[in-house]
């Protein structure tokens, strides 16, 4: 851990918030991607069955 001096809180909170936001963005994208992919597979399957 580098010595951040009196700016420890500042720097750490900036990193914390930014990384958290990035993780949320990536996480939500992956989560929705998975859901849509499986839902589409289901619909596609049904469509094939019904001709």
């Amino acid at each position: 851990m580098p010595d951040l001096g009196k700016y420890g809180d500042t720097v750490l909170s900036a990193y914390g918030v930014s990384i958290a936001l990035l993780i949320v963005l990536v996480g939500l994208s992956l989560w929705r991607g998975r859901r849509v992919r499986s839902a589409l597979a289901e619909v596609e399957e049904r469509a094939k069955r019904n001709g």
Partner: protein, 243 residues
């Protein structure tokens, strides 16, 4: 072979599927390397102390916030002129990423401003125009969500993006006129290339590369999701029409 072939959804999906692992991997690599380098292995700057480390998040995010909008503008134009569905969906996929990048730039900037300017927020032109850009992102996303018919939504959001760009530029100019702020001066020491020592510059470049790669990976992935959602909606509509 023409570039427009990738405007075919299926072709796009298979190609992006092949490329995505590379982009995810490289993005992760650059981000981790750049941020660790910047956070642990760069010295403090004389005037700004440790806060200079925020630059590795703030500047790439700010760059992408603007460039994501430009990408949406280009994609919207392609949709309006050539009617390639993939490009409209790519614009849709990019908007939330741009919004988050804007938010990161705003938040890190605000946190940085506290020690540097002694205030969280200042109605500086660059800051203000970023806030306005954020509003444009919000409006764009809200319009996509409000409209059921996907083609209608694509048309309307594309025109909004076009008109919005003009007004965003106007706002930028207006805000500049309205208040000459702090940001330029404060960042001048890093702006001029001779002042940006290589110790800060190189990790910054790696971080910027990481953010760009992450953006590309996210856009490719999310566009894939949008294509599938669109395909699913079409299949469901067909089912309904058949039933």
């Amino acid at each position: 072979m023409s570039l427009w072939e990738y405007a075919n959804p299926r072709k796009f999906l298979t190609t992006s599927e092949r490329l995505l692992p590379w982009f995810w991997g490289l993005a992760g690599l650059c981000l981790v390397a750049g941020l660790i380098w910047g956070f642990f292995f760069t010295p403090d700057e004389a005037r700004q102390g440790a806060t200079v480390k925020i630059i590795y998040l703030h500047v790439p995010a700010a760059m992408l916030a603007i460039n994501a909008w430009i990408m949406m503008l280009v994609a919207s134009l392609i949709w309006l002129v050539r009617r390639h569905h993939v490009s409209a969906l790519a614009a849709r996929a990019a908007a939330p990423i741009g919004a988050v990048m804007t938010l990161i730039a705003l938040i890190t900037g605000a946190i940085w401003g506290q020690p540097m300017w002694g205030t969280w927020w200042e109605w500086d032109p660059r800051l203000t125009s970023f806030l306005i850009l954020f509003l444009f992102y919000l409006g764009y996303i809200a319009l996509w969500q409000a409209i059921d018919n996907p083609d209608t939504a694509a048309d309307l959001t594309s025109v909004l993006c076009l008109v919005g760009t003009v007004f965003a530029l106007l706002s930028r100019y207006a805000v500049n006129f309205w208040n000459q702020g702090l940001h330029q001066g404060a960042s001048l020491s890093l702006d001029k290339e001779e002042h940006v020592a290589n110790v800060f510059y190189l990790p910054l470049l790696v971080c910027i590369a990481g953010f760009i790669l992450l953006f590309v990976a996210l856009v490719l992935y999310r566009t894939g999701t949008e294509i599938r959602a669109r395909r699913m909606a079409a299949l469901l509509a067909r089912e309904r029409a058949g039933a």
